[in-house]
Each structure stands twice: as C-alpha cells, then as structure tokens.
Symmetry: C2
C-alpha cells in the first residue's frame, strides 16, 4: 500500500459528496470536491470552487484526480465529452449521463431495451398532448425533459390548457415535452444497484419510498411484503438499465407498483440516491462506499442487510428558531437508536437538511423511532 | 437546527483525528484539526498546522472551536491549564490528562482509589530497583513515567544493571522511574468506556487484545469466554477510573488477566483507542462518534454490538513495493466481508498503517477473514 491511494474527484458540493467523504476516509482513498461555493455541504473535502458549466474549471479539477464522478447530474455533456476526449476518466461516462439528463432520451432508450414503463409520448404541440390525455383516462404527468428533480419540472395536466406556458416556450425545453401516464400505483419502489466499468453488478434489497409533495420522505428497507417475483423483476430491471445504458457507480431506479400489478420505471439516478441513505447503517456496504469502489473499478462490497429492517426519514425544512444542540440532545435521549445525519445546510422551507435512520427487528418500531427523532429535530 | 452546529477542535493529526472526521460528517458537527504537518492522516479536517507545545499556537486554534479534545496525550499540561484558566473548554480536562501523561501519578491515584494493579514502586536509585526485583520474582517491568507508548519507554529488567542508562539520567524522566510487577498473565483485556462532563457513563463489551512486540495486533470483541464476574469487574473498574480521575470522552483501560485470577490495570488512554476500532462496524455507536458526543456533553449512544463477534487486525508496517490499488482489489475479492481502513500514512517498518475489521457470527471466521485480508494488504 505504499503507492499513493487513488484520488476521486466529485463534481458538486451537496450532501451526496458530503456523505461520500466518510467512506473515503475509512477506505483510505483521497477525495476532492469541486463545489459551487465555499460553504457547501461537502466543504471539508472541497479543493476547488467554481462553475461546473465551464470546461476550463472542470478541466483544472480533473488534473488533480484519477477519476471524476458526481454529486448531481447537471454537468453539461459537452464539458464531459471534451474531457473524455482528452483522456479523463469520467464515471459514469457522458454516454450514460445523457440518459439521466434528458428524460425523453431515457424513455426512448428504455423502450428500445423493452423495459416496462408508463405509457408516454413526446409532446410538440397542444393537440398531441390532448390526444395523449384522452387516451390515458383524462390525465397525464407532463415533464420537462431536462432539469427537473424533487417535484420540479413536473406537472399533472388534464388538458393542454394546463400547460400553455410550457407549450408556448418549447424551445426552452429543447423543443418538446414528455407526457406520461399518471400511473394508478399502490406504492413507489426503488431498486439500488452498482456497476463497475469492467462489468461487475450488485444490487441491494428493494426498498419502498414514500413521497410527500413530490419529495422523498420515508424509505422502508426492505420493501415490506414484496414477493420474490417482484424482487426478481426489479433486480433484473436494474441490471438491464445499468448494462443497457452503460451506467457505472451507483444507480437508483425509481418504480411504481401499479394497482394492476405492473412494475414500471419512473425515474433514474446515476449516483447515490436518497432511497439508499439507509445503507449507511443498514447494509454491509453503504451506497457511498460502493459508489467510490465502483467508479474506481474496485471489487464491489456485499449489499447484505445488517439488520432485519432499516427505516430512513428525511429531515425536510426546519424551524430556524430551533437550536441544533438542544434539539439534537433531546432527540438522542428520546430516540437512542436513531442515527442522525445532518448536511450542514442553511435552513429553507422543504429543503433536505438531513435524515435519520433506525435499524431494528421490526419495521413498525424502526419507523416510529425514526419519525419520532425527526419530529424532535425539526420542531424541537 | 438552524443555529450553527458545535465546532470540535482536535489537537493532533493522527489516525484517531482522522477517524473522528467520518462521524463528525455524519452527525453534522464541525471538526477542525490542529496538525503537526500538512500531510497528516487527518489532513482533510486540518485547519491549522503548528506545534501543540506552544501556548500561542493552541490558543489561536482554541478560538476557532467550541471544545478542544485530543488525538494524543502529549499536549503539555501547562498549555492546557493556561487555556482552561482563560475559559477554554478542554475535554478531557488537564486534571484528568495529568494521570495519562505521568504513569507514576496514575499509579498513585489508582492506588488511592483502591483499584487493582500490579505491584509497583517509584524508583529513584539502583538499590530500590534491585529490592523491587528481588521482591517480585527476580524480574520487573521498568517504565519511564512520561512519554512511553506502543512499547517505547518500557523495558524488562532483571537487575538494576539492565537500566543503568536510565538510572544515570533520572532527571530526564522527571527524577524517578516506575517499576512494575511482571504480571504472569493468561491474556490482555481492554475495557472501553465513555463519560460526559455532566456524568453519564457507558461502557462497551470487554475485549481481548493480542500484542506483538509491544504493539496491539489483534482485538477480539467481545473477549471470548469471559465470565459475568469478570465483565462486572472490568466495567466497575472503568467507571471508577473515569469518575475518580475526572475523565471525559472515551477512556480505554488496558488490563491483564493474571494466571492467579487477578484483573489488574496496565495502562490508561483518555481518547479513542486501538482496542476500540472494532466499534466502527461492530457497535451501534463507534468510539469515534461517542467521543465527539461525550466531549460536547451530548447524550451518549448505545454501545450494543451489531454482530455476535468483531475482530480487528492492525496493518503493521508495509511492503513499500506493494501497490495500494492492486493489493486493495485483491483483498476485497478474497475477503469480501473485510472492512479495510487505511490511514494515509507513509510506510515505515512496524508503523500502524491501517486496520481491518470483520464482523461475523463466529470469532474463528472473523479472525481468519481479517487476518487474511491484512496479509494480502501487507504483502500483496
């Protein structure tokens, strides 16, 4: 172990880069972050501050590391393609990220792979949107192909009139929108997996995600009452997506379990994902450790659970009159099993400020403890 | 949680400071390190580089944090006492560290508390040393009261002639030496615990430590075949030491289990300790997380095990022709359960370069896997 350990460069200073820092320390890997601002969530590992939209900024960062990976999916493809052409090791590569950055391209590719999806259509005008709505029970989910996340860039529409502002400005969205069937689902699921450039693939147990106002609120790991048939299906889907799209590192496939029994793909994330935070305490190998190993093309770790049940509850928004130390102490006393994670962010309504994970023998107990701790942390 | 999180300042940039960094990130605490050099093990969290022997250096560091704690026990008491007089929050406080820094003071204090120890004597001349040796079976362990660790400053002597160099230079050691009975032990044990300034005390399960050449090599958690009577005794010893000496943060009490059945105190460490590294994976709350919570006077976490057995093997020394990535990849493939920790240190014979922990249902399996992974890492 004498030669220098590999250096991982993460673009983006958010909580995902922050949470990659801890396993990098444990593993003895060197981690560097290109952050947007000095006071980011990942400031401890920040070695450069700059705009990731600028090729020269990212190129300068790339010179200091052995592999580039990501806290988010917003780095322009042109920047990444230019660096790849210069020999920079980018994981996941731009050809995979292209599908994460553009939901229409993603739908087309998943369709070509024969993977299960909601009904969908590319929308270039009001009449095709109205046709799609009429063919799908009078309602559709309309999405901007680029730039949406956590409920942004997504709208429920019942006629083209509900989207006239978007339809009148199609050029802002690359010329078209994505209309999707509003799936009548019994629950939402997420399949976390990881893949190395050289091909090794592993997946974690399927989880159930519960959203509030379009943002993930609670994750139950494993998904309760999921028959083997569904587990086999979701694992196969994740593997087909990872291989078919050339994804490396951690991949999260968000899915609906429809009332009619279908499992259909909702969204993809080519990075550690909120649905996998439970794995820090709940899995032998966390998604953050696995992502580092995967992008370095190191052997992947066991995804076996470390407890029967893990429940993660997000800390969304915050009461800015709340005192950290007091709320923290109160939560730790009242909920001693809770593992509290905060992201060092300033308060803003609805913002993901942190999360709480509880591992336990019973899902009810884990959920009650995690929710209890989160309530104390948010409301004092 | 709107107000700023508490800021912890760690003096010393070694692997203990490094390993405190990961839980600080998870907990959302701010951690800063005063390191001796730019390229220390804890460089990610280093905010100041300087000599901890200089009051002005430590004072400057103290101004940037809410509490001062330690990677090692070498900061001069005078420096800490001066800062405490100025109102700086130092944990553990100087009055406790005084006993960690001077083994004679420690023996005197433990004696006053009635705690079990090897026979010992303060040695000021050759004849008193020869008397002690004669009274203790013809052999003694001679220690310099200050500055010894990992086998340094410790010598087995069978007559005063074996220590003539030390006896001729007593002034270098504060005027006297410490002679101790060479305990005929069946094994070595360590009791890890933590205490808050406001009094809360918790202890982890007792562990067995195996030394090679005076340096900890393997830790078995829990200590195999330890009857309840011993567990009760070692926990009570740790609590008496912590309370009696006013220790805050993590305390490690190293003990001998003598062939005649006695449990006697060997050494104390008032900080996270090598015997507690297993707790990163093996305990609900690791010693590093617990130390941060304790020095901030936050409620302590559960010390319950996360698996039946944890085994830690140190990575001592290194083959400097070994390639990190290749050895790492080989170890991960051959020993997928091993959690590998490296400290970012340059190679030196016998140096603690990192450690490997395996948690498992069987101690034999955990030991074999941890030793196997360590062998690959050290020898490729």
């Amino acid at each position: 172990m004498a030669k220098q350990p590999p250096r991982i460069g993460v673009i983006g200073g958010g909580q995902l880069a922050r949470m990659m820092t801890a396993p990098a320390i444990n593993l003895g890997l060197e981690i560097k972050v290109l952050a947007e601002a000095a006071d980011s969530s990942a400031k401890l590992a920040t070695t450069q501050i700059g705009d990731y939209n600028l090729l020269e900024v990212v190129r300068q960062f790339a010179r200091t590391v052995d592999v580039i990976t990501f806290d988010h999916e917003h780095v322009p493809l042109k920047v990444l393609e230019a660096l790849e052409a210069e020999g920079v090791n980018v994981q996941p590569p731009s050809k995979a990220l292209a599908f994460a950055q553009n939901k229409l391209n993603m739908r087309q590719k998943l369709g070509a792979l024969g993977l299960p999806m909601p009904a969908w259509a590319e929308i270039r005008d009001a009449s095709s949107l109205d046709d799609f709505i009429a063919a799908n029970g009078g309602v559709a989910i309309l999405k901007t192909p680029i730039g949406g996340y956590d409920g942004k860039g997504v709208r429920v529409v019942r006629s083209a009139a509900d989207a006239i502002d978007w339809l009148d400005n199609l050029a802002d969205f690359g010329g078209s929108l994505l209309a999707e069937e509003k799936v009548d689902f019994v629950r939402e699921l997420a399949q976390l997996s990881a893949r190395r450039p050289s091909g090794e693939f592993v997946s974690w147990p399927l989880v159930e995600t519960i959203q509030e106002n379009g943002v993930c609120s609670v994750v139950l790991a494993p998904a309760p009452n999921a028959p083997d048939e569904i587990l086999a299906k979701t694992t196969a889907i994740a593997e087909q997506v990872a291989q078919g799209l050339g994804v490396t590192g951690v991949l999260a496939v968000e899915m609906f379990e429809a009332r009619d029994g279908r499992i259909v793909i909702n969204e993809l994330a080519m990075r550690p994902h909120n649905s996998g935070h439970f794995s820090i305490e709940g899995s032998v190998t966390s998604q953050f450790e696995q992502h580092l190993r995967a992008v370095l093309d190191l052997p992947l770790g066991s995804t076996a659970p470390r407890a029967a049940h893990s429940v993660m509850v997000n800390l969304l928004g915050v009461d800015d009159k709340n005192d950290f130390v007091q709320a923290y102490a109160k939560a730790l006393v009242a909920h001693p099993e809770a593992k509290i994670h905060t992201y060092g962010k300033g308060p803003r309504a609805g913002r993901k400020m942190g999360h709480v994970t509880v591992v336990a023998d019973s899902v009810e107990h884990a959920l009650a403890e995690a929710r209890g701790a989160a309530a104390v942390l948010l409301r004092g």
